[in-house]
């Protein structure tokens, strides 16, 4: 499936598939496997009976208990990362039929409604593979450190409440705070490319994930004390200027976070930051 087709595979189509899903069918899972870093990858297919309410996780569980390919070859259980299975932890992200998303919320009825339909599972494309569908997303968390994604409190002793906040402002921040660092926005971004050399992470494009988190912390009364540091990080190499405005990020975000708004807001902050720096003689 081409990228364009993958994106077109939207909610309406999934709903239609749900309605015509055949009970008691089997579905073919075509899975891209790899034994470890620098090892070649290969495809293996499994025929999985679909029970009611099946999702990609339950199908991978079935394969783990029955690791035999469609050709009758005995193989090993597939390796993948997962935790909450409720689409709030971000762990089980992978490419499903070419589109990046969480596998827990991926219902088989919506993707493979007929007997023998094929679903493809691949690891995320922008992070190094550890094994099979498990990728190393350390860079994504590193990028949070890069933009100092925290509120610099004085300490944990009792010092009364935090800053007061309006209802509407809280709602705006809450929308940003739901980001679970899954990396969908990065995987779909043409500007965010795979970078296995850790020493180059700080000069490579940081992506919508950390840009939106920078905005989240800049919007907090105490958090904004570090705004200048964040804007330094986002104004240099690999910062906001590397965004190509493809807007794929916002399309694939499972939490509907207004990522392009965040990019716009940080872009404006960066302009102001640059002017300030100019007048302070720093640049």
């Amino acid at each position: 499936m081409s990228e364009a087709e993958a994106y077109a595979y939207d909610a309406e189509m999934r709903k239609a598939n749900r309605a015509k899903a055949v009970a008691g069918r089997s579905v073919i899972f075509k899975i891209k496997r790899c034994d470890g870093p620098n090892k070649p990858s290969r495809w293996e297919s499994f025929k999985v009976p679909i029970e009611e309410g099946a999702n990609v996780i339950s199908s991978l569980n079935w394969i783990a208990a029955n690791p035999v390919t469609v050709d009758g070859k005995k193989t090993t259980p597939v390796v993948w990362e997962s935790s909450c299975l409720e689409e709030v932890c971000g762990a089980c992200t992978m490419l499903i039929n070419g589109r990046v998303r969480q596998s827990c919320s991926c219902l088989i009825n919506e993707y493979a409604p007929r007997e023998g339909d094929v679903m493809t599972l691949e690891p995320m494309s922008k992070f190094p593979v550890i094994r099979d569908l498990w990728v190393d997303r350390a860079r994504l968390f590193h990028n949070l450190t890069r933009i100092k994604a925290w509120v610099p409190i004085d300490g944990t002793y009792n010092m009364g409440p935090g800053p007061k906040e309006s209802h509407d402002h809280q709602q705006m921040r809450y929308a940003l705070s739901e980001c679970m660092s899954c990396g969908c926005c990065l995987d779909a971004c043409p500007q965010f490319t795979k970078q296995e050399d850790e020493s180059k992470w700080d000069s490579s494009f940081i992506g919508a994930h950390a840009i939106s988190q920078a905005r989240y912390f800049n919007e907090h009364d105490t958090g904004k004390q570090l705004k200048a540091d964040r804007m330094d990080a986002l104004s240099g190499a690999g910062g906001i200027n590397d965004c190509g405005n493809a807007q794929n990020c916002v399309k694939v975000c499972p939490k509907g976070i207004p990522l392009t708004e965040s990019i716009g807001a940080i872009g404006r902050s960066a302009t102001i930051h640059a002017i300030k720096q100019f007048f302070q003689g720093k640049k």
Partner: protein, 662 residues
């Protein structure tokens, strides 16, 4: 290696990066003590993200209406059917408002009132609004705030995060009363390297054991494996039998997802087809051919009976009477008689979850739900030093408006910073959060879990620091390397034996680890959750013997030396069987009904015999649990009948709208 560079420094290991582990890490690192933080997942993906409803604390509005920290304390004890250790609960509820303030300062986006104050919602077990919340993802928001502060300490070099490392064993020196924990053995889940790590104190913050019951509301990492390993190494396990089953969860092919109680509060009706085996679609079944379970059995309270009753009745209809939908263990939770726009406005969030995971829109198709294992009140047994408040006689029947018997300053319940607070029977080994048995007794109140986790970290983190600095023990960096090498070898040998089983495979399905885990979950769910009986628990124990026997010959399906998840899972299955045995055996010996523990053969609470904590001790010779019953640490509040149901019914009209589930 980082830890060798600092080999002349005292340090602490925290195992687990959920709310309890991160709160502990922050507190200990802030005190200037280096922390090594071990987690099987990036800490931001820990199970705490799943908590929805909120976090309880007395607040200024409730206070002016007559509420107090003391009443929060009292409610928690009634909720727990008086099986809680009383002093730590008092300290926890006294700290609660300050903990909310701290989270607020860390930037948690708590919902706000029109005037910009923190908003509050009602929750089960109280007549007062005392629950703070952040949308329907409070756990996620709190975890992120602590994750951010941890990241800050890590950036400053004060915390050494070891993510994708699995805890294998606590390293214990000496025996009996002299047993002291001096480090851990852990394995890198990617490279499979097994290594010992020294520490002057170890904090276990490893959460619950939902996977022992197969499908639960827990995350896939909540096997209870880490707690089981400490238990097998000599740590005691308290109130194992106390497992909370939530009445309304969405059964899934992979796990059960929570469906908040507020659906019933808004008018949701629970029913099954009146005719057994009726396969018609729900909307084709006319009104008079439906059996509205709770409305018919409890005409007065209907669908709004308390949680434990709802759970037991739904279970009874499906399991005992076989009347579940199409013979499955499911009943309808029906909202389709209501205006869809109203539902969207009031329940939008949880309805979207249902639609996303089940594929049906609950505004038009009745939801299919069933009770699911949700939380373990039991856990590693811990002790503490009581605080200043020691009344001459315990207070009985506290009511709102009564004079509050004790102040809310720190140190009333527990002596803050005492070395033994939240320490297990093994010196230097602590248990924080869900894995600590102390706080919730026989049932946990909604929105108290997040509180107990963060409280343990913040309050008892100080105890850890004091113990390491002032405990007078030989610094662990001075200990002989042989102790650590032996521990590494012990775990390496176990690991290699499992790995060897791959090649010797007979292909016998009975020796497949996933099959053994599946049968364990089925058995534990059937015998040791909602309704228990002596004979059924005895049968369960025989089944566990069989599984244990099969497990001793388990055959691994993957012999890889790199990122072998099957090995990690298979290892945990053995530990899950052992915890399962403690749960079932303690349940068998507790011949009474109390909170979540309901025995049809002993339906009443028996305070004379069982106002006691069950304490399981692992018998290394038999490989099984020896269970003792020891007095509950009380003295602050007098026993009284548990009138949770009565409180709930009085509160029903005002309370139901915002009740959420956590």
């Amino acid at each position: 290696m980082a830890d060798e560079k600092r080999a002349d420094e005292k340090r602490v290991i925290v195992v687990g990066g959920g709310l309890a582990g991160l709160a502990a890490t922050i507190r200990i690192a802030e005190a200037g003590m280096p922390v090594d933080l071990f987690s099987m997942v990036p800490v931001k993906r820990s199970h705490s993200v799943c908590a929805q409803g909120g976090i309880n604390a007395c607040n200024e509005v409730a206070r002016q209406q007559g509420y107090s920290e003391y009443q929060h304390f009292d409610e928690t004890l009634i909720g727990g059917d008086f099986l809680n250790d009383q002093h730590p609960v008092l300290e926890m509820t006294n700290w609660a408002p300050k903990i909310i303030d701290l989270l607020d300062r860390m930037g948690v986006p708590f919902n706000r009132s029109n005037e910009g104050f923190r908003d509050l919602r009602l929750f089960g077990g109280s007549l007062f609004k005392r629950t703070h919340f952040s949308g329907a993802t409070t756990g996620q928001q709190l975890l992120y705030a602590l994750d951010e502060q941890t990241r800050r300490f890590a950036a400053e070099g004060k915390v050494n995060k070891k993510e994708f490392w699995e805890f294998l064993w606590p390293i214990v020196e000496g025996a009996g009363e002299n047993a002291r924990c001096v480090g851990i053995v852990a394995q890198d889940m990617r490279t499979m390297q097994i290594q010992s790590f020294r520490a002057d104190a170890v904090v276990m913050a490893t959460g619950g054991c939902g996977l022992v019951f197969g499908k639960s509301t827990n995350s896939v990492i909540c096997t209870g494996g880490a707690a089981s390993r400490c238990y097998q190494a000599g740590a005691w396990y308290g109130n194992a039998e106390m497992i909370q089953v939530h009445p309304t969860a969405i059964p899934g092919a992979d796990k059960c997802r929570l469906m908040s109680e507020s659906a019933r509060g808004e008018g949701g009706r629970v029913w099954v087809p009146a005719k057994k085996g009726d396969t018609r679609k729900p909307r084709d079944i006319p009104e008079n051919e439906r059996y509205y379970i709770l409305e018919e059995r409890y005409p007065k309270y209907g669908n709004l009976v308390p949680r434990d009753i709802a759970t037991r009745e739904i279970f009874d209809v499906c399991v005992n009477e076989g009347m579940g939908i199409n013979g499955t263990n499911q009943v309808y939770l029906d909202l389709t008689h209501m205006d869809p726009d109203y539902l969207t406005e009031k329940l939008g969030g949880i309805l979207d979850i249902y639609e996303k995971f089940v594929g049906d829109d609950p505004r038009f198709t009745p939801m299919r739900i069933f009770p699911a294992v949700h939380y373990s009140m039991g856990g590693l047994w811990t002790t503490y030093t009581p605080g200043e408040y020691q009344p001459d006689s315990p207070i009985s029947g506290f009511k709102p408006g009564d004079p509050i018997p004790v102040g809310n300053e720190p140190g009333m319940g527990m002596e803050v910073g005492a070395h033994n607070n939240a320490m297990t029977n093994i010196t230097g080994l602590y248990a924080f959060g869900e894995v600590n048995f102390a706080y919730h007794g026989a049932t946990r109140l909604g929105a108290n879990a997040l509180l107990s986790c963060i409280f343990d970290g913040l309050c008892n983190g100080v105890s850890v620091v004091n113990f390491v600095r002032e405990g007078g023990h030989q610094p662990v960096f001075e200990l002989d390397q042989a102790v650590f090498d032996a521990a590494t070898k012990q775990e390496q040998d176990k690991h290699d034996k499992l790995l060897d089983s791959t090649s010797s495979g007979t292909g016998d399905r009975k020796l497949n680890p996933y099959q053994i885990a599946f049968e364990l979950g089925e058995e534990m769910n059937a015998a040791s959750t909602v309704v228990k009986t002596g004979p059924r628990l005895e049968k369960c124990l025989s089944k566990l013997d069989e599984l244990k026997e099969r497990y001793s010959k388990v055959e691994l399906g993957d012999g890889a030396m790199w990122t072998n998840q099957s090995l990690s899972f298979t290892r945990a299955v053995g530990d899950m069987i052992i915890i399962g045995e403690a749960i079932a055996k303690a349940g068998l010996l507790r011949e009474e009904s109390r909170g979540s523990h309901y025995r049809t053969d002993f339906p009443e609470r028996n305070d004379d015999k069982f106002w006691k904590a069950s304490v399981a001790k692992f018998n290394k010779d038999s490989g099984k649990s020896d269970i003792e019953f020891v007095d509950v640490k009380a003295g602050l509040v007098k026993l009284r009948p548990r009138d949770y149901g009565k409180t709930e019914s009085n509160a029903a009209p005002a309370q139901k709208e915002p009740v959420g589930a956590s």
